[in-house]
Amino acid sequence: MLTKEDLAKYPFTPEAQAFVKERGLTAEELDKTENRRILERAVGRLKESLESGIVSARLEEVEVEVLSYPAAMLLASLTNDRLLQSRYAEGEAKRAFTLLKDETVDKLAYIAHDCFNWAVERVSLDIGPRSYGLALRWRDFLSVSMGFKSHHWKLVNRTLSAGLVYLQRHELARLMAEALRERLLSRLSTAPTVELGEGLKASLREVLELSKRRAASSVGLEPPKEGGESAYPPCIKALLEDASAGRQLPHMARFTLASFMLNVGKTVEEVVDLFRRLPDFDEKRTTYHVRHVAGEIGSRTKYTPPRCETLRTFNLCPSPDRLCQRVKHPLAYYRLRSMEGSEAG
C-alpha cells in the first residue's frame, strides 16, 4: 500500500521502521562519514522544529529522509531536554499533518490502522453543510481528542452514531498527528544507553545550545509566583470564600483548591490553613492529603488543578467571567491576569 516516497513522508509507520531495521543503522555507524548526510538531516529536523515549529518534508532523498528520523529521535531522547523534546514531537506532528491531510481517504484509513490500530470506516454521509467520508470508533477518537482545546473536538459536539464519530479527511489527519505527537513525547522520555562518537556528541551539543538560546528568549511558561489573590479565577475565589466561611466542600472542590494554591506557589502549610475552618477539619488528614497533591508523598506526582471542562462537569464553575471565555484552565487564567497586572503596574 505504501510507496517508497510514502516511507519518507511517514517514517513513523511500521513499514518505514521495517525499512530502517533492514538497513541496520546503529549509533556507531551514524558517526561514519558515509552517513554524514543522515546525521546532518537529523540535526536539521531538530533545528527546524525549534526554529519554525515544523519539520519540513524533503522527499528527494528518500533514504536520508527515512533514516534521519530514528537518528533525530535518538538525539532528542539523549538531550534529556523536555522542552526540546516537546518541540520536536510537535514539529514532527505538524509535518505529518501537512502531508496526511492531502492523502486519499483510503490511504489515511490504512495508515491510521497500521500505526495506531484505529478502526476507521469509509462512509459517505452528508449532514448539514458537511460531507463525511470517514468515521472512527469513539474510543479511538477519545484516546487523542483530549489533547485539543477547542469545543469543536468535544464528543458532545460531534456526530456520533452506531459507535462511530464522523470525520472529514483533514480532521482524521489532525487526530493522527496528535496521536503521533503523544507517542513521540512518551518515547522520547526514556533515553537508550549508547556509546557516542565524536560526530554525534558534536551534534548533540549543537541542538542543546540552540534549545537553550530559544528557551531564554521565549516568555517563561512558569506561573508567576506573585499574581496575588486578585488574579485568581472566579471558581477559585468562590472556593476560597466557601472555605473561609467554613462550608463543607466536596472532594473535587478540595482537590481543586489545594492543587491550584500549590501551583501558584503556596506552601503545604499555607494550603492546610485554608481548610482550617471546614466543619470536618483534621490537621493530620488534611496535611496528608495536601502533601499528596503537592507530590511530596504517594505517587510523587505534583498535581495541577483540573481543567475548566472538568470543573464544569463537577459543577465547580459557578460564575465564569469574560476572561474565562478565553482560557481552558484555571492556571491559564491566573497567568493572563497576572501579566495584565504587571503590565498595568
Binding site: M146, H151, V156, G163, F314
Partner: protein
C-alpha cells in the same frame, strides 16, 4: 434499634443469603475485585476484601449477614491490598448510576425535605445546589419514602440512557448492558466488555459530558441563528445530538402550554405566546419535513429561538451521576445483594423485562410471614402492590417486608 430488633433483621438477611435456591448473580472476574461491607451492629466499613470463589463469598455473607455489600468496578492485581498504589489497577467497568434523587419529579415536594447544615434553613422538594439563604453547599436531604413515581422516573431515565444513547450513539449491543435495581432509589448499569476496561478518566468524563450535554454548542449541530438559510438544516431523524435536539424541540412544542411558551419569551414579547400556541400544529408539521422550516420559530425572535433550543437540550439530556461514571475506583452495590435499609434486593434485570419491572413488588426480599409492630406517625406506604397506612401511633400486624422497612427507617418498633 433495640438489640432484639437488630437480631431479627440480621436473621432475616442471613436467611436470604443462606437460601440455597437463591443464586447470587456475580460480576465477572470476582477474584480481581475488591469487596466492601458495612454491618448492622457496628459502624465500621470493612474494605479491601477479596474472594476467590462464589462459594467463599456466600459463606461470608451467610455468616456475617452484612447491611450493605459493595464491589469495585475496578479490577486489581491484588484487590486485598489496603493502599491504592499497591493494589495494581488493571481496568474498570464503565458504570452508570441513575438515582431518582437527581431527577426533579413533581412529587419531590411531597416527600423530600432538605436542611442546610450551616444555617439550618429547610425546604421541601429537591435540594438546591446551594442554600438559598446562606449560600452554603452542605445540604442534607431526607426522603423516607419509597416513591413509586420517582422510581418510575428513574426507570424512564434508564431507558433513555439505553435506548436513546448507549445503543444508537455509542453502538453498544444490548447483550453488553447489565442492569440492576440499586435497592432503593434508582438503577445501576454496568458495561464489562474488554473494550471499555481501559478507558481512562478523561474519556469517561467525555462520555458523561456527552450524556449530560455539558459544553454542548447548539451551533455545532446546526442550531445557529442563520439556520433558515441552511440548505440542510437539522431534522428529526438526524443521528446524534443533531436529531436529538430537533426531537426535543418537537416534543417540547407538542406538549407546551401557553405558560411554558411565555417562559421562553422576553418580557416585552410575552404576548406572542398565544400566537405561537395557536400555530402549534403548523410548526410541528413543518418540523416533520425532511428540511424543517426552523425559520418559522426564529421569527419569534432570537431569544425565543435560543431558549427553545436550550429547553430541548435540557429535556433530552440524561441525568446520570457523573461522580460514579468518572471514578475508576468506585465501589458499587453488588447486584442480587440486600439493601439493608430497605429490605429490597439489588435485583439484576433483563433488558426486555425492564418495562414490567416494579421494584416495590419484584425486588421485595422478605415476602413470607408477618410481624407485629408498633408504628408511629407515618404516611401511606406502597409495597408488594398494596398500600399500607397511613399510621398514627398504632399496633399492627404487617407483612415482614413492610415491617422490615419501617423498623429500619425508625418508624416502627417491634411489639
Amino acid at each position: 434499634m433495640s438489640e432484639r430488633e437488630l437480631k431479627l433483621i440480621i436473621k432475616l438477611v442471613r436467611s436470604y443469603y443462606a437460601d440455597a435456591g437463591h443464586t447470587l448473580s456475580l460480576p465477572s472476574d470476582l477474584p480481581h475485585r475488591e469487596l466492601a461491607f458495612s454491618f448492622f451492629e457496628r459502624d465500621e466499613v470493612l474494605r479491601h476484601v477479596a474472594f476467590k470463589s462464589l462459594e467463599d463469598l456466600r459463606v461470608f455473607l451467610t455468616s456475617q449477614a452484612p447491611r450493605h455489600v459493595f464491589y469495585s468496578s475496578a479490577y486489581y492485581l491484588s484487590p486485598s491490598e489496603r493502599d491504592m498504589a499497591s493494589k495494581g489497577w488493571m481496568g474498570a467497568d464503565l458504570v452508570f448510576d441513575i438515582d431518582s434523587d437527581h431527577i426533579p419529579t413533581p412529587c419531590k415536594d411531597e416527600h423530600d425535605r432538605w436542611t442546610c447544615l450551616d444555617c439550618k434553613a429547610t425546604g421541601r422538594g429537591l435540594a438546591p445546589l446551594s442554600c438559598p439563604s446562606c449560600g452554603g453547599r452542605r445540604l442534607s436531604s431526607e426522603s423516607f419514602y419509597l416513591c413509586p413515581r420517582c422510581l418510575e422516573a428513574a426507570k424512564a431515565e434508564l431507558l433513555k440512557l439505553i435506548e436513546g444513547f448507549l445503543i444508537p450513539d455509542f453502538g453498544f449491543s444490548p447483550s453488553e448492558l447489565h442492569v440492576a435495581f440499586s435497592g432503593r432509589r434508582g438503577y445501576h448499569l454496568h458495561l464489562e466488555s474488554e473494550a471499555v476496561k481501559e478507558i481512562d478518566q478523561y474519556a469517561r468524563r467525555e462520555i458523561v459530558d456527552y450524556l449530560k450535554a455539558v459544553s454542548l454548542r447548539p451551533e455545532a449541530h446546526g442550531f445557529h441563528s442563520f439556520v433558515e438559510r441552511s440548505h440542510a438544516p437539522p431534522s428529526l431523524n438526524h443521528p446524534g445530538w443533531r436529531g436529538r435536539v430537533a426531537r426535543g424541540v418537537y416534543s417540547f412544542l407538542s406538549s407546551a402550554t401557553i405558560a411554558d411558551l411565555e417562559r421562553l419569551l422576553p418580557t416585552s414579547k410575552r404576548q406572542l405566546a398565544a400566537e405561537i400556541y395557536a400555530s402549534k400544529e403548523r410548526l410541528l408539521a413543518s418540523l416533520e419535513l425532511p428540511k424543517p422550516k426552523w425559520g418559522l420559530m426564529l421569527k419569534y425572535g432570537r431569544r425565543f429561538w435560543e431558549r427553545l433550543v436550550l429547553k430541548a437540550i435540557e429535556l433530552q439530556r440524561c441525568e446520570i451521576d457523573e461522580r460514579v461514571t468518572t471514578d475508576i475506583h468506585r465501589l458499587i452495590r453488588l447486584p442480587s445483594s440486600i439493601h439493608g435499609d430497605t429490605g429490597l434486593i439489588a435485583q439484576p434485570l433483563k433488558l426486555n423485562g425492564l418495562d414490567s419491572f416494579d421494584p416495590l413488588k419484584d425486588a421485595v426480599a422478605f415476602k413470607k410471614g408477618e410481624l407485629r409492630v408498633h408504628v408511629g406517625k407515618c404516611p401511606q406506604l406502597t409495597l408488594m402492590g398494596e398500600c399500607f397506612g397511613p399510621f398514627n401511633d398504632e399496633l399492627v400486624v404487617l407483612p415482614t417486608a413492610v415491617a422490615f422497612y419501617l423498623l429500619r427507617s425508625g418508624l416502627a418498633r417491634l411489639a
